[in-house]
Amino acid sequence: MVVLGFDIGSRAVKVVLFENENYKKSIVFDTFDFYKNYCTYIEGKIFVDFDKLALGKADRIVSTGYGRNNINIDGAEAITELKAHTFGAVWQTGLSDFTLLDVGGQDSKVMDIKNKKINDMILNDKCAASCGRYLENMAKVIGLSVGEVSNYSQNPVDLSSTCAVFAESELIGKISEGYTAEVLAASINYSLFKKIKPLIERFPAENIVVTGGVAANNALLDFIKKETDFKNVIVPKYPQLNGALGCCVYAGMNSTINLK
């Protein structure tokens, strides 16, 4: 059985292909590029152009992400991101009980997973200062790429703004005070961590699994290790694909993988 999992995020669209419950391949599109080049608009509705995607024929399609209810994928079932991420993380790590942190392009989700099921969950405040978009904007201000920023965690200075937009102005202020790019990068990462910390500390556990594009931010992982009580900070093999993987796992649930 060929299964396609779509995670339609705000910055990237992740597509994973499972064959007989095994991971085969994946593609990551820029969200705007995906809408522009792989979707067609018919009577105000958005349809995915599968011929262009060239992924072959799927037996089952499951979608998630903020776009799941807006994009029409023929025959697809839409599930919530929380569900998809839970299935994905359980499948990727083999763990049953853990705290799951997913930091995506425009939101952060924290789930308390008990016995492979969502026990409780919390999302970031409406402010975007706890997600990937914040890192992108802040990196731009100091002229670095998101990848470059993610490596610095030493000697951060305090960026106290609760608002992502005000934080940018605050960062500009710090530049004029003469801080180095390294310190400023560490400060950006630390301010992201400070927004996420109270969310993850709601659900104490031995293991925390970090997924989403921002799982590639080493500084964030360092701060979690140093400044929280989680014993193990685990980044699975495909952090960014976790939601799309979860869709594939969900599709196969009725056969051999029994998660719920």
Partner: protein, 327 residues
């Protein structure tokens, strides 16, 4: 007839007894063509962005309403923002009448408050009780509408919310309200029973969102209990010919413990699976969430609303995931 605005449920019998028209300003705000414009209008007048949208909406609804020049402000028992709102309205030439739901020595002090209000409107308590007798007949219909929701599974969560919340002023015309609700009940009675998988209770102030109830029902759940809206109907005091007793058993403006007792009773009675606790952004009631979470023995989703309009994507996701979690 003269219109009298008010900021939250007050003994509406007094206004009707005085031959005047009660107007719940919250309803004027939220049913306006563009409620958000009301919020922006108040912000332009200087209301801080980090204050409750209801307060801002009430302000704009009042100053932009040509035929309201008198407002009863509930300055104790609701929130301290209402106190400041009264000051600003006075500045705008609106006559304000403070009304308090006392935090202690309730019966004695509430008696005084009600007498003061009667004196202002030049009515006797007897005249008010006569009105109460008439309103109680309508309240019985509201109780039945509520039963059509939780007992007979016919009325929607939104109908339950709308009609009960409207009983703060009976849509400014209780006789028309009575006819309208009778017609609605006839229509609902003819429906087939519709059972949803999950039965939810809604607690906290009425939502600023317009599509919450419909969204929940799309997900095969139904709100079968609206705590504060039900309190507005004074359903627990039907037949009690005493305004002080009636408005002292109105749980909303008093201590949280009274509200919790009421909520627990209905969770059991209505066989409720989980609770949605709604709080308004920047409201002190958000702090009460700590106690509520500890005291109620069912799963709770806290939803915070800020601006009027439809549910935002993030809140939708949370509600959807919460319902999924319960299934």
């Amino acid at each position: 007839m003269k219109k009298i605005g008010f900021t939250t449920s007050i003994p509406v019998e007094i206004i009707y007894a005085a031959g005047m028209i009660p107007v719940d300003l919250n309803n004027v705000f939220v049913t306006a063509e563009s409620p958000q414009k009301n919020v922006e209008y108040a912000e332009n007048a200087g209301f801080p962005r980090n204050t409750c949208a209801w307060i801002k909406g009430i302000y704009s609804s009042t100053v932009n309403c040509e035929d309201i020049d008198t407002v009863i402000g509930v300055v104790e028992g609701d929130c301290s923002n209402a106190k400041a709102l009264m000051e600003v309205l006075e500045l705008k030439g609106i006559k304000t009448i403070p009304f308090s739901y006392p935090g202690s020595d309730t019966l004695e002090k509430l008696d005084l408050e009600i007498r003061k209000l009667c004196e202002f409107f030049n009515v006797t308590l007897d005249e008010c009780i006569k009105v109460k007798d008439e309103l109680d007949e309508i309240r019985k219909k509201l109780v039945y509408l509520d039963e059509l929701t939780w007992k007979y599974n016919k009325a929607t969560g939104f109908e339950n919310h709308l009609w009960q919340v409207s009983s703060s002023d009976f849509n400014s015309d209780y006789k028309a309200f009575s006819n309208d609700i009778t017609n609605l009940i006839n229509e609902i009675e003819a429906r087939d029973e519709k059972k949803n998988k999950i039965r939810l209770g809604y607690i906290g102030v009425p939502p600023i969102y317009t599509d919450l109830y419909d969204f929940v029902e799309e997900k095969d759940a139904r709100i079968v209990y609206n705590e504060v809206q039900r309190q507005f109907t004074m359903a627990d005091s039907i037949g009690i010919r005493d305004l002080v007793k009636t408005y002292s058993s109105f749980t909303y403006p008093y201590s949280l413990s009274g509200r919790l007792k009421d909520i627990k009773k209905h969770i059991e009675l209505r066989n409720i699976d989980a609770i949605i606790h709604y709080t308004q952004s920047f409201c002190f009631r958000g702090i009460e969430d700590i106690v509520i979470r500890k005291e109620l023995g069912v799963p709770i989703l806290t939803v915070e609303g800020d601006k009027p309009g439809n549910l935002d994507a993030r809140t939708k996701l949370r509600i959807e995931a919460f319902i999924e979690m319960l299934k």
